[in-house]
């Protein structure tokens, strides 16, 4: 078991099976908290920017993966695509931090899912994301 895996919360499931998800990851799904879907990753050296904080592109990648998966889980769709995503960067993540996202569904229509996600490390806000997903099939 890797050092990272030892620090993950109980019930964490690796969801990085291939492609960019694996290349940028690993990312994990955590047990649901009621209607809220939870995901996490541990900030590794490859995730950082030169000033020693987690790269914004990696944080947006994590949000996109977690929110896309939530859009599928909440609708039973096999495939959903991101239409738009807005991210506010509230505070830095540091190497070794366990960074979590709590994703909630704001609204579902026949073809669209509206989602929001809060990224935190410990009690501290890292990023807020809101976005729109289209149900492809």
């Amino acid at each position: 078991m890797s050092h990272a895996a030892m620090r993950l919360p109980d019930g964490a499931e690796d969801i990085s099976s291939g492609g960019f998800n694996l290349f940028a990851g690993p990312f994990y799904r955590l047990p649901d908290a009621g209607e809220t879907r939870r995901f996490a990753f541990i900030a590794l050296p490859k995730h950082m920017n030169a000033s020693g904080t987690v790269h914004g592109g990696l944080l947006m990648t994590f949000a996109d993966i977690a929110m896309s998966r939530t859009s599928r889980l909440s609708t039973g769709a096999r495939s959903c695509s991101t239409v738009s995503l807005s991210c506010d960067f509230a505070g830095p993540g540091r190497q070794g931090d366990l960074i979590e996202i709590a994703v909630t569904v704001t609204k579902k229509t026949r073809t669209l899912v509206f989602l929001s996600g809060q990224l935190t490390t410990g009690e501290r806000a890292v990023m807020t994301a809101t976005g729109l997903w289209r149900i492809v099939q």
């Binding site: 960019f20 790269h55 592109g57 947006m60 990648t61 991101t82 995503l85 807005s86």
Partner: protein, 135 residues
Amino acid sequence: MSGPRDGYSEVRLLDPFEIHVGPAFSAGEKGARRYAFRAEPRHCNMRGVVHGGMLMTLADMTLGQAVWDATDNAACVTLNMQTQFLKPAMAGEWIEVAPELTRRTRGMVFMRGDFTVGGELVMTVQSVWKLLGQD
């Protein structure tokens, strides 16, 4: 198709995550540069579509380079980024952007960029940057 097109040279990337996903390329003079990226299978999902996270990383990287150009390499962070995904980009494609400075204040820079493949829009991005040490 692989590698950069004529007239483009490799961007010197500093951030470990950008080096991990790179390389990226640029052409033109400071303040009016174009940036480009060759999508590879490692940047894509299982269906060969470039991952949204990769496209947003490319946007943060290239608009950030343009902020540096506009501020003589001031220390800065992304405050907000808004992305619209208009059309899928595929493995092997050459993705281009010419970042535009929308407005600069003492403490903030507003940027936008239209990302294209073969002249067709794939993504539009607006981002707000904070210059560190400026209120």
